[in-house]
Symmetry: C2
Subunit: 157 residues, 2 copies
């Protein structure tokens, strides 16, 4: 009998199944149930100036936020699709190193209330915060994003 | 003597030199000096739901805006680097077709004033608007982005 894959391993498998994510070579580095960290090599994401392409930074922050929500929903036993609805990104500094993207629920978000709404109405919104971490505790970019969560099965009436 | 490549051909060469852009398979479709259109196949940019990955939509809109500015600066004879500083993206509808990203200066921006500032101060900001165009005139996503333009040579004192 083979062991059940870990939630992180399942997320990695999910990421690898998406061609644009595979191209960015994103790897699940750490996920503690609240915060998810993805890493990606600079070489696969470099722009014409030798630093990270802004589109890759945005993409990896979006993915980290999406992945963090996906893991949280799995842990809660809810089958739901997670869609990014909108985002705001500030690029703080050029990133000349491998990319580390970290995401978690935006402070002040009430996860239990989000789950309750999703269970009763079949839909909910969640605000996520993500950033690109660099050496010496510098931040390369920051993102605030709103996600739509849509339950796979209709709520019980 | 070989013909000088067109500005669009040079931009395409520039795009192809960036690994994450080559992975998205972005092609310069149309550039009339004001508006730039990039296209990319859905297959290279598809997510787990069979529609376009949000990170690819953001990335292609960012690139279209960056490319439109780059072409405008070349036409004005100015050698400057173009960096995205921040952006806001709204995802309107899932995109189940090949991706068309179009960008131009945000209405109300004064291009001559931006050029004058860049020539005298060596730096300027430009606001760009981009969107994902779909069949039947629908819009898949919209972006507003601010770019920093930095002249390659210091301005004359």
């Amino acid at each position: 009998m083979s062991a059940e894959p870990s939630p992180q391993a399942r997320l990695q498998h999910h990421l690898d199944a998406m061609p644009p994510v595979r191209a960015m070579a994103a790897t699940v580095a750490r996920g503690d149930g609240e915060c998810l960290q993805l890493v990606a090599p600079l070489a696969a994401n470099v722009n014409d100036k030798g630093c990270a392409f802004g589109g890759s930074l945005s993409g990896l922050m979006t993915l980290a936020a999406w992945g963090a929500l996906t893991l949280r929903l799995q842990a809660a036993g809810i089958d739901a699709e997670v869609y990014v609805a909108n985002c705001q990104v500030a690029f703080r500094a050029p990133v000349y190193e491998d990319i580390v993207a970290e995401a978690a629920l935006t402070p002040g978000q009430d996860w239990e209330a989000i789950l309750a709404r999703l269970r009763t109405r079949g839909r909910a919104r969640a605000n996520m915060s993500a950033r690109i971490l660099m050496a010496q505790a510098r931040v390369g970019a920051e993102m605030e994003a709103q996600f739509a969560l849509i339950a796979a099965v209709a709520p019980h009436a």
